[in-house]
């Protein structure tokens, strides 16, 4: 047995490595499933607080990590306002004053229009694949679907805000149905719940996302995809300052 110990250790290491890769693959598949190579969507976002709520409707286009464009449809006050992201740069179009304003890249990590989502949450950078190590920690059943429970721990040098993320990803169709975001002290900060699974132009996805801050009762933000189509051809030139003003 002693003789075989190194071999056994090697086997253990290898299986741990394989499993880590698997978990990473699963997360990547789930994120890719929701993002696609490109997408075009119409979204309603409802900010809910104890005593009041506000609703924002918008149209969004994205291509990979690099490009996204958002046009506000409602409320009336903000209709026509647009946001363009190309790489790390972000611009904002204010139609009432006919001006393009360059926005700070740091706003990507901050609240999106007063909601519980950050800009990064909406763009869903590949960071959750790249900047974390992944491990399957169990199984669970959510909304009648068998799920992997996967733990994401940030790599040492990764510049990320979370200390830990736990994701529930369905085994059959790679849907991210729930995620818990923990800070560096291990305290639960946000819960993301995905539901209302629908077929959107041939792709099965949850069209309702809720972001619920753990320590603020009565508070959440609900995003509903009224329509979303993936992997449509969008040329890079679509994501321009000219089109930010024009696109409808």
């Amino acid at each position: 047995m002693k003789k075989n110990l190194p071999l056994f250790c090697l086997f253990l290491l290898a299986s741990a490595f394989l499993q880590a890769q698997d978990a990473g693959e699963i997360v990547k598949k789930a994120l890719d499933n929701f993002r696609g190579k490109s997408s075009k969507s119409t979204i309603t976002m409802k900010i809910i607080r104890p005593g009041w709520s506000r609703e924002i409707r918008m149209k969004a286009w994205s291509k990979g990590d690099k490009y996204s464009l958002i046009k506000i449809l409602a409320p009336a006050r903000d209709k026509g306002v647009a946001y363009l992201k190309v790489g790390k740069e972000i611009w904002n179009w204010q139609p009432s004053i006919e001006r393009t304003i360059k926005l700070p890249p740091s706003m990507m990590g901050q609240s999106w229009m007063g909601s519980d989502f950050t800009n990064d949450d909406l763009v869903r950078e590949s960071s959750e694949v790249r900047d974390y190590t992944h491990r399957i920690i169990g199984s669970d059943t959510l909304q009648g679907r068998e799920c992997w429970k996967i733990e994401l721990i940030p790599k040492e040098d990764a510049a990320v805000v979370w200390g830990k993320i736990i994701m529930w990803i369905s085994k059959k169709d790679y849907l991210e149905l729930r995620a818990e975001f923990y800070d560096e002290d291990g305290t639960l900060v946000n819960i993301m719940k995905a539901s209302d699974i629908k077929n959107m132009h041939g792709r099965i996805i949850p069209v309702r996302l809720e972001m619920i801050p753990a320590d603020k009762p009565g508070q959440k933000t609900v995003i509903v995809y009224e329509d979303i189509v993936f992997d449509i051809p969008i040329p890079d030139s679509f994501f321009s300052l000219q089109n930010m003003k024009k696109v409808r």
Partner: protein, 385 residues
């Protein structure tokens, strides 16, 4: 003119019902707002005086996108002024009525206690094909980059204290634009005018390099040759922006002296969403000649003369206390005239389409041994549709 406006309103009102369809790709779009603005102005110097002002303000924005190339836009504002501020002013229309080359305004009510005024401040045809765009008619040509002062805004310089009219007056102009990249374009614009000395003809080149947006411009503006440059971008979390423009009368060029408008600013967005903005302005024609007779909000400014003071600096903070409440406060200081302007404000979102603002503009300065104080408090209720 009166009849033209009436006709336009009658013609366009029925289209408001089209909005009910709410198809985002409807050819017609219709929007605007109704605002109720009230002010209390207290000025002191020669005796204290308190004047209450009232204004009901409606804006209509109408667009017709005929196809992917042609767009027609018409925007007008209808305002009813009433109360003491109208009675107290010797010539209230001086602050109310304005036009460009064409007369597109009308005074539909003129009483000692009330004035009704309508003006079309946008009326243009836009044609665009590929990377090219042409726009003719009354339009806003906004070349400004900075938050408070815009030396590059040759066509329609913005007075940041005139907070209730962010759309600004339009210029009757022709504008050609060519987009050469995702964040770069060249444009040529000419404002119609009865004489060369009052017209503006200029070209602008905007481009993106080192993650900054840059612009260069050259042209003639109201009797001057103008050269300008602007920049905006971020180094780490710190925002840097600025604009400069040099003006020199083109008649008697060697015998005249030029003037310089230069502004530069820094901004920082804290993780708490507190946004801090600092800027200074050097305005070489500034003579510290502000008399304090009219509110600073109505001060006539241009890219060449953006402030009555030569040296100006502003520090402003903005903070979304909750998604419903935005708090901001700014302080302007001009060392030459020892002028301070403090402008705090708070905006409440009452519903998806209703906002309430409460803000103040408090000014104190000392000129030639004379103390001038102006204190104005505004309330505004705004319903957008």
């Amino acid at each position: 003119m009166k009849n033209v406006i009436r006709l336009l309103v009658l013609l366009l009102l029925p289209f408001s019902s089209l909005r009910a369809q709410d198809s985002s790709l409807s050819k017609w779009s219709f929007g605007g707002y109704v605002k109720d603005l009230r002010s209390i102005a207290i000025s002191s110097g020669n005796g204290s005086d308190m004047v209450v002002g009232n204004q009901i303000h409606n804006r209509l924005n109408i667009r017709f996108e005929a196809d992917s190339n042609w767009t027609f836009a018409l925007e007008l504002r209808n305002r009813l002024f009433y109360g003491e501020s109208i009675k107290a002013s010797p010539d209230p229309l001086a602050f109310i009525d304005y036009n460009d080359y064409f007369d597109l305004s009308t005074v539909w009510l003129k009483k000692p206690y009330a004035i009704g005024h309508s003006v079309v401040d946008r009326a243009y045809i836009d044609y665009h094909r590929g990377n090219f765009e042409a726009r003719i008619g009354r339009q806003r040509i906004n070349w400004g980059i900075s938050s408070f002062w815009n030396p590059n805004d040759l066509f329609n310089a913005f007075n940041f204290l005139d907070w209730d009219y962010e759309e600004r007056q339009g210029s009757d102009a022709i504008r050609l634009q060519y987009y050469s990249g995702f964040a770069s374009h060249v444009e040529l614009a000419a404002r119609m005018s009865r004489s060369l000395d009052s017209s503006v003809v200029a070209a602008l080149w905007r481009f993106n390099h080192w993650n900054f947006d840059w612009q260069l411009l050259a042209g003639i503006a109201r009797g001057d040759m103008a050269l300008g440059a602007g920049w905006t971008g971020y180094i780490g979390p710190v925002g840097l922006n600025g604009e400069a423009a040099y003006f020199h009368p083109y008649r008697n060029f060697p015998d005249s002296s030029g003037s310089l408008s230069l502004t530069a600013g820094l901004s920082y967005l804290f993780p708490s969403n507190l946004y801090i903005n600092y800027a200074f302005l050097y305005s070489s024609p500034g003579k510290n000649d502000f008399t304090g007779v009219s509110p600073l909000r109505f001060m006539d400014i241009s890219a060449k003369k953006l402030s009555p003071f030569k040296y100006n600096m502003i520090l402003q903070g903005m903070f979304p206390a909750t998604p419903l409440i935005n708090i901001n406060a700014g302080l302007l200081y001009s060392p030459g005239s020892n002028a301070f302007i403090f402008f705090p404000g708070i905006t409440f979102s009452l519903s998806d389409n209703m906002d309430f603002d409460l803000l103040g503009q408090f000014m104190t300065l000392k000129l030639n041994g004379l103390n001038i104080n102006q204190e104005i408090i505004y309330t505004r209720l705004k319903w957008s549709f």
